[in-house]
C-alpha cells in the first residue's frame, strides 16, 4: 500500500518544533494583553518573542513565516515608538498575523499549505511600513517543502504493510496545492475508514517505542483534561492543554509515517483549534467526539505497542475512525456557516467598529479610539445573561442561593481521596487569596496580587466544578469574574469590591470546612447536618458591582448613527468625518488648519525616536533615569517568566516521613562517630593523638574526615526540614486584626516583625490559637477608641506589633500594643471579687497581678463583646503555652501599652550544648545559658541560713546547686573545690551547677523524653550523644526553681 506520506523538510520540522512553545506563550500573552496597549512591558515581551520566532524562520529558510514575522515585528516596534497611526488596528493586524502564522505552521505539519492568508497579511503589513517586501535569500521554495515518500520503499519494511490495508484512499495534497486537504465527507465505498495505527515503514523500533510511551502519557493527560473540560466548557486554557499533546502526537505520527494516527489526531486537533479560537463552542458533542477520538488513538497506540513487543501483526485489529472524522467534519461544517476551505482559517477580524467618539460635541477629529470597547463588550453581555436570573430566592435549597458545600453523596474511596486533597488545596488557596486581597487593599494597582488571587480562585473553581461541588464552584466562578475585571483593568479594586472578595473567601472557607467535616465523618450532604452557607447575596452583590461599572450591555448605537437618524447631520457628512478619523492625527490637524505642516514634520521627527529618547531630548527625564526604567522593564519581563515556574519549587511531604528521615540520619551520625573512634584505635592511634603513619591509614583518615563532614551536613539539612517560618501563622493575623478593629470601629495598624523566624512545625501549628486570643485582646481591650487616643495625645491609629525572634535557645513571640495598658488597681479589685486574691494585694509584684488575666473566667471587661470579654481567651493562651512548655511574661504601663511575651523552647531544634559529667551520667547544658565555668576557691564558698550554699563570684553571691545530691547520683567529687561549677543564667535567675567534668561542646537535637516520664522538673528533654547513649538536657530554668524550693 503506497501512502503518499508527506515528510517535511528537516529544517521545517525543526522550525515547527522550535517555535511551538514560543507560539503558545505568545498566544497567552496576546490574550492576556487584551488590546491594552499601555502595558509596555508586555508589549516588549511580545516583541522579543516575534524577534526570536523570526530568527527561527530565517534559519529554517521558510520565507512565508519569515516575511510575516518581519512585518509583525516591525509593526509592533512601530507601535511601541508610537510612530504608527491607528494603534488599535495595528495591534489587530499583529494578532491576525500571529494567528495566520500559527495556522500556517500548524497546517504545515499536516502537509497542507495555508500560506494564503499569510501572504495577504504580509502585503498589508509591508504596505503599512512603507517598505518593499523583504526577501529571504535561502528560502525553501514551496515545491521543496515536502519530500514525498513513495510506496516502493515498502518492501524493505519489517512489517508486511500490504497485509494491513489502511483503507485510506484520500490522497494527500500535492505540494503547493492552493486548496489544501478537504477530505471527502463521505466515507469511502470500501467501508469505514480505519487503520491499525501501524506505520507503513519502520526503520528504528526504539524511536517507535519512545513514541508509544509518550503517546500513552499524552493520552492519559488528554483524557483527564477532556473530562475536566466537560465540566468547564469555557476554560480556554484547558483546551490548550488538550490541544498541545494532541498536536505533539500528530506531529510524531506524521514524522513516523503512521497515517491513521496522524489523520485522526489532525482532525481532532482542528476541532480543538476552533474551540480554542472560540469559533466553535465546547458542546457535549465536542467532548464526546474528543473521547471517541482518544479511544481510537489509544487503540492504535496499543496496537503499535503490541506489535513492537511481539513483532507480529497477529491479534491486531483495525481501528475504525472514519466515523469520528466524519462527525468532526459535520460538526465543523455546522459550527461555521461557510465551510472554510482550509480548516481553521482564523475568523476574519471583526471589522473595527471605529466608534465615533464625541463627534457631536466637537466635530473636530479626536484621537483614534482604542479597541477596548469592542473587546470588553462581549464580556459584559455574558455577565448580563447570568445576572438576569435572580439570586435572592431566599431558598436555602436553591443552589444559586446557598449551599453547605457538601455534595449530596460521596463516591468510592478514590473520589473521597480527591475530595480530601481538594480540601487541603483549598485551604492553602484560600490562605493565599486572603493574604493577597489584604495586600491588594493597600496596593490596588498591583497586578501581581490580582493575578495571584485570580489563579487561586480559578483553581478552586476548576477543581470544585470537576468534583461536582456546585455551590463552591458557583461562588468561585462569580468571584473569578470580578477578579478578571480587576485584571483587565476594567474595574478598580475599590473598598466595596475588596470587601466582597473577602466575604466570598469566607463563604468558601465555610463550605470547605463543612466539606472537610463531612469527609471526616464520612457522611454526605443530607446527613452531615452541615449548615448551608448563604452566598446568594454575595453573588448578587458581585454582579451589582460588575454592572454598575458597565452601565450598558447591548453596545449603544453609535453617536454618528443617532445624529444621522435625528437628521442633525447627513450620511455624507458623517462619512467625511469618519474618513477624517482614519487619517493620522497630524494630517487632520494640518487639514483643519490647527498646525502648520512644518510643525507636523518636527513632531513626526520626534515620533520616529523611541519614546525614551524623546523624553530625554525634551528634558523631561535624565538619561540615567531612562536607563533605570529600561532595566526595570527588562526585569519585569524576566520576573514574569520566573514567576510562573516558582510554584513548582516546593513539594509536600508527610511529616512522618521527615521524622523518620531525621531519626535515621541521627543514627547515621552516631554510627559515624563510633566508626571514627574505632578506626582511631585500630589504626594504632593512641589517646594522646599519635596516629599510624602508613599511606593506607592516612587515606583512611582522610576518608573518615570526609565522611564526617558529609554526615554533619546531612544532619543539618534534614533537621531544617522540620523547621518552617512562622510567616503563615502571622499572615493569618492580618485579617483577624483588620476584622476585629473594623468591628470595634478602631483604627489599628498591625506590624509584623520576624516572619521568617523558623520554628518547629508543631509549634507553628499550635501557636496560632494563642496568638488569635492575644491579638483580639490587644485590639479589643488594649487599643483605645480613636477619640480617646487623640484626647490622650496619641496618634489616632493604634499600633500592634507581632514579633518573633530568637533569644538564646528559645523562640520569643511578642504581642505589643500602644494602648491603655493594664490597670493594676482594677485587676486587684476584680481578683478580690472573684476570690483569687484574699488580701489587699499590695505586696504583689506587677507581674503577679498581671498574671491574673490568665485565670479562667477572669475578665475586667465591663461588657462582653462578640470578640472578647468572657475571660476565656487568656486562659486558652496559658494552657496552650504550657502544653508547648513555654512561659509567658507580661509587661504593661498604664496609658502606654502592654507587651505580652511568649517564650517557647525549640522542641525539635538543634541547640548548642555543653556536655558535662556527673558521676556516671552525662548531661547537656544549653550553651546559651552558660556564663562561665570556674573552680571555686575554699574562701568563695559561704553558707547562708535558709538559703543554702552560695559561691562568691566577683562579689556576686550565687547559689550552689549540687546536681549529684539533687538527682541522687554517685559523683566523683563531693567537694566543690575539687570539681567544677558551671555558672548558668536564665530568666534572671543564676546558679552554680556543680559537675565532675566538662566533656565538650556539641550541637544536639532535643528529643522528647517520652510520655512515661511526664514532665521532669529540671530536664528539658533527651538527646542521643556521640557515644550512642542517651543524654539528658538540663532545663536550667526549671532546675534553678527546683533548687530554690529545696526539694
Amino acid at each position: 500500500m503506497s501512502g503518499n506520506t508527506p515528510n517535511l523538510d528537516a529544517r521545517l520540522v525543526k522550525l515547527i518544533a522550535d517555535t511551538e512553545p514560543i507560539l503558545d506563550q505568545l498566544g497567552t500573552e496576546l490574550l492576556l494583553l487584551n488590546g491594552d496597549l499601555s502595558d509596555l512591558a508586555a508589549l516588549v515581551s511580545i516583541l522579543e518573542k516575534f524577534t526570536t520566532l523570526k530568527g527561527h524562520a530565517e534559519k529554517a529558510g521558510d520565507e512565508v513565516a519569515f516575511q510575516l514575522l518581519f512585518a509583525a515585528e516591525e509593526v509592533l516596534s512601530g507601535l511601541l515608538c508610537e510612530r504608527l497611526p491607528n494603534p488599535a488596528d495595528m495591534f489587530q493586524m499583529i494578532q491576525d498575523m500571529f494567528r495566520a502564522l500559527r495556522n500556517y505552521l500548524f497546517e504545515l505539519t499536516a502537509g497542507n499549505d495555508a500560506s494564503g492568508p499569510c501572504q495577504t497579511l504580509i502585503e498589508k503589513g509591508f504596505q503599512v511600513l512603507e517598505v518593499p517586501i523583504v526577501q529571504l535569500p535561502s528560502a525553501i521554495s514551496p515545491e521543496e517543502r515536502f519530500i514525498f515518500s513513495v510506496g516502493e520503499e515498502n518492501h524493505d519494511a519489517p512489517v508486511a504493510a500490504a497485509s494491513m490495508p489502511t483503507m485510506e484512499p484520500t490522497p494527500m495534497p500535492a505540494a503547493g496545492e492552493s486548496v489544501p486537504s478537504v477530505p471527502p465527507t463521505a466515507a469511502p465505498e470500501s467501508g469505514e475508514e480505519a487503520s491499525t495505527g501501524l506505520p507503513e515503514v519502520m526503520e528504528d523500533p526504539s524511536v517507535y517505542k519512545e513514541y508509544v510511551l509518550e503517546c500513552l502519557e499524552h493520552l492519559e493527560t488528554i483524557e483527564e483534561k477532556v473530562l475536566e473540560l466537560e465540566n468547564n466548557p469555557e476554560d480556554i486554557n484547558l483546551i490548550g492543554e488538550i490541544f498541545r499533546p494532541i498536536h505533539s502526537m500528530k506531529g510524531g505520527a506524521g514524522f513516523l509515517g503512521m497515517t491513521g494516527v496522524n489523520k485522526l489526531a489532525h482532525d481532532t486537533e482542528t476541532m480543538l483549534d476552533r474551540c480554542r479560537k472560540l469559533t466553535l463552542p465546547v458542546t457535549p458533542e465536542v467532548v464526546e467526539i474528543c473521547l471517541r477520538s482518544i479511544d481510537g488513538l489509544k487503540q492504535m497506540t496499543v496496537n503499535l505497542s503490541r506489535f513492537l513487543d511481539t513483532g507480529t501483526t497477529d491479534n491486531i485489529n483495525m481501528v475504525p475512525f472514519g466515523s469520528i472524522r466524519d462527525d468532526i467534519k459535520t460538526l465543523l461544517a455546522g459550527g461555521a456557516p461557510k465551510a472554510a476551505p482550509a480548516p481553521a482559517v482564523p475568523a476574519p477580524p471583526p471589522p473595527a467598529p471605529a466608534p465615533v467618539a464625541k463627534p457631536a460635541v466637537a466635530p473636530a477629529p479626536t484621537p483614534p479610539p482604542t479597541a477596548k470597547p469592542a473587546i470588553a463588550a462581549p464580556v459584559v453581555v455574558v455577565k448580563k445573561e447570568a445576572s438576569s436570573e435572580t439570586l435572592l430566592s431566599g431558598d436555602l435549597n436553591d443552589p444559586e442561593y446557598a449551599s453547605s458545600g457538601v455534595p449530596g453523596s460521596f463516591g468510592d474511596s478514590d473520589e473521597n481521596d480527591l475530595l480530601k486533597r481538594f480540601v487541603q488545596q483549598c485551604h492553602e488557596h484560600l490562605e493565599t487569596i486572603e493574604e493577597d486581597i489584604l495586600r491588594l487593599e493597600k496596593e490596588t494597582a498591583n497586578a501581581e496580587f490580582i493575578n495571584g488571587i485570580f489563579r487561586a480562585i480559578h483553581s478552586i473553581k476548576g477543581d470544585s466544578g470537576f468534583l461536582n461541588l456546585t455551590g463552591i464552584s458557583k461562588l468561585a466562578h462569580e468571584t473569578e469574574t470580578l477578579l478578571d475585571r480587576f485584571r483587565k483593568k476594567t474595574l478598580t479594586p475599590n473598598q466595596r469590591a475588596i470587601e466582597l472578595c473577602l466575604q466570598a473567601c469566607d463563604a468558601l472557607k465555610h463550605m470547605i470546612n463543612n466539606l472537610d467535616k463531612a469527609l471526616e465523618a464520612g457522611q454526605p450532604g443530607a446527613t452531615s447536618g452541615a449548615q448551608p452557607i448563604v452566598y446568594g447575596p454575595i453573588r448578587q452583590a458581585i454582579r451589582d458591582v460588575l454592572e454598575n461599572r458597565e452601565p450598558t450591555t447591548v453596545s449603544p448605537p453609535k453617536i454618528g448613527e443617532i445624529l444621522v437618524a435625528e437628521g442633525s447631520v447627513t450620511q455624507e457628512e458623517l462619512q467625511t468625518v469618519l474618513e477624517l478619523q482614519n487619517k493620522p492625527i497630524g494630517e487632520i490637524l494640518v487639514q483643519t488648519g490647527k498646525v502648520s505642516s512644518e510643525d507636523l514634520e518636527n513632531a513626526l521627527a520626534y515620533q520616529e525616536k523611541p519614546v525614551g529618547e524623546i523624553l530625554v531630548q525634551t528634558g523631561r527625564i535624565s538619561p540615567d533615569k531612562l536607563d533605570k526604567a529600561l532595566e526595570k522593564q527588562a526585569e519585569a519581563g524576566g520576573a514574569g517568566q520566573a514567576g510562573g515556574s516558582a510554584v513548582a519549587h516546593a513539594i509536600k511531604v508527610d511529616t512522618e516521613k521527615i521524622d523518620h528521615l531525621v531519626n535515621l540520619v541521627g543514627e547515621l551520625v552516631i554510627i559515624e562517630t563510633q566508626v571514627a573512634q574505632m578506626a582511631n584505635r585500630v589504626l594504632g592511634g593512641t589517646e594522646d593523638g599519635q596516629r599510624g603513619t602508613g599511606n593506607a591509614s592516612r587515606l583512611y583518615e582522610k576518608n573518615l574526615a570526609q565522611l564526617g563532614k558529609i554526615t554533619k551536613e546531612l544532619q543539618d539539612r534534614s533537621m531544617s526540614l522540620r523547621m518552617m517560618p512562622i510567616r503563615q501563622t502571622f499572615q493569618k493575623m492580618i485579617r483577624l486584626v483588620r476584622d476585629a478593629s473594623k468591628k470595634m470601629n478602631k483604627k489599628v495598624n498591625l506590624i509584623l516583625v520576624g516572619e521568617d523566624t523558623e520554628l518547629d512545625k508543631t509549634v507553628v501549628e499550635q501557636i496560632g490559637d494563642p496568638l488569635v486570643h492575644m491579638l483580639r485582646n490587644s485590639v479589643d481591650h488594649g487599643v483605645e477608641m480613636p477619640e480617646e487616643r487623640i484626647a490622650s495625645g496619641k496618634p489616632e491609629t493604634g499600633t500592634v506589633y507581632l514579633e518573633a525572634f530568637y533569644q538564646g535557645d528559645r523562640i520569643m513571640i511578642r504581642v505589643r500594643d500602644d494602648g491603655k495598658g493594664l490597670d493594676r488597681e482594677r485587676l486587684i479589685a476584680k481578683a478580690q471579687e472573684t476570690g483569687l486574691l484574699h488580701d489587699s494585694g499590695a505586696n504583689l509584684s506587677d507581674l503577679d497581678v498581671f498574671k491574673f488575666i490568665f485565670a479562667p473566667g477572669f475578665s475586667t471587661a465591663k461588657e462582653i463583646t462578640d470578640i472578647s470579654g468572657r475571660g476565656v481567651g487568656m486562659d486558652v493562651v496559658r494552657r496552650n503555652i504550657d502544653k508547648l512548655r513555654g512561659s509567658i511574661d507580661i509587661a504593661s504601663e498604664k496609658g502606654k501599652g502592654t507587651t505580652i511575651t511568649i517564650s517557647l523552647p525549640l522542641t525539635l531544634a538543634i541547640i548548642d550544648g555543653m556536655i558535662v559529667r556527673v558521676g556516671h551520667e552525662e548531661y547537656i547544658i544549653p550553651t546559651v545559658s552558660i556564663s562561665e565555668s570556674i573552680r571555686p576557691r575554699r574562701e568563695d564558698i559561704t553558707t547562708i541560713t535558709q538559703r543554702g550554699e552560695m559561691i562568691n563570684v566577683r562579689g556576686n553571691l550565687i547559689p550552689l546547686v549540687r546536681l549529684y545530691s539533687l538527682w541522687n547520683i554517685q559523683p566523683r567529687f563531693t567537694d566543690p573545690c575539687e570539681s567544677l561549677v558551671v555558672l548558668v543564667e536564665n530568666d534572671n535567675k543564676r546558679g552554680c551547677l556543680m559537675v565532675d567534668e566538662l566533656i565538650g561542646q556539641q550541637q544536639i537535637v532535643i528529643k522528647n523524653l517520652g510520655e512515661q516520664f511526664g514532665d521532669v522538673r529540671g530536664i528539658a528533654g533527651a538527646t542521643i550523644l556521640g557515644s550512642g547513649r542517651v543524654g539528658l538536657i538540663i532545663d536550667v530554668n526549671g532546675l534553678l526553681i527546683r533548687a530554690q524550693q529545696g526539694v
Partner: protein, 169 residues
C-alpha cells in the same frame, strides 16, 4: 496502687472473662524462674541490654531511657515492676520493646524463651487472689503440657498514669 489493682481485677471478673479474647501467640519470658507471656502482636522487637540513661525523679522501676535507632525509649525493669528483687544483668537479659498506642517502651526481663500458641481451651482466668504484685497485670493463665504461663496485659503495665504515680511533687 493495690487499691487500683483489686478494682481492676474485680472489674475484669465482673465484665465476664472471655478466654477467646486472650487466645493467640505469646512470647514467653522468664522472671525469677517464673514463666510469663506477652502477646506477640504487642511486641515490636527484642534487643539485648544497652547502656541505660537514668532519669532523675522517676519511679524505682523506671530504669531510664535508651537509644533505639535514634528514638528515645523509656525502659522498665519488669522484676522491679512486679516487686521482685533486682538482679544483675547477664548475657541472657533482654529488653522487649512493646508498643502501646504508637508509643514504644522497653521491658527488661531475665530471658526470653519461645513463642507459644494458646487456644481458648488452654486458658484459665487469672487467680482471684494472688500473693505477688504481678497479678493485677495478668489477663489469663495459659496451660501447656508441662507448665503454666502467666499471660500479661502489656497495656496495663505501660499505662502511664500508673507509672507516674508519685511523680507529682
Amino acid at each position: 496502687m493495690t487499691d487500683n489493682a483489686t478494682v481492676s481485677a474485680a472489674a475484669l471478673q465482673k465484665e465476664g472473662w472471655n478466654p477467646a479474647s486472650h487466645a493467640g501467640k505469646y512470647l514467653t519470658l522468664v522472671l525469677a524462674s517464673e514463666s510469663y507471656g506477652i502477646n506477640i502482636l504487642k511486641i515490636r522487637e527484642i534487643i539485648g541490654v544497652q547502656d541505660i540513661t537514668r532519669v532523675p525523679d522517676s519511679l524505682y522501676f523506671m530504669k531510664g531511657v535508651i537509644n533505639l535507632r535514634g528514638q528515645v525509649i523509656a525502659v522498665i525493669d519488669l522484676r522491679l515492676r512486679f516487686g521482685m528483687e533486682e538482679k544483675e544483668y547477664t548475657e541472657e537479659t533482654c529488653i522487649i520493646i512493646v508498643e502501646r498506642q504508637d508509643m514504644l517502651t522497653g521491658l527488661i526481663v531475665d530471658r526470653v524463651d519461645e513463642v507459644l500458641d494458646f487456644t481458648p481451651n488452654d486458658l484459665e482466668p487469672p487467680p482471684k487472689m494472688g500473693t505477688g504484685n504481678d497479678d493485677e497485670f495478668i489477663q489469663a493463665m495459659g496451660k501447656t503440657k508441662t507448665t503454666v504461663v502467666m499471660l500479661l496485659n502489656s497495656d496495663l503495665i505501660l499505662k502511664n498514669e500508673r507509672m507516674r504515680l508519685g511523680t507529682d511533687y
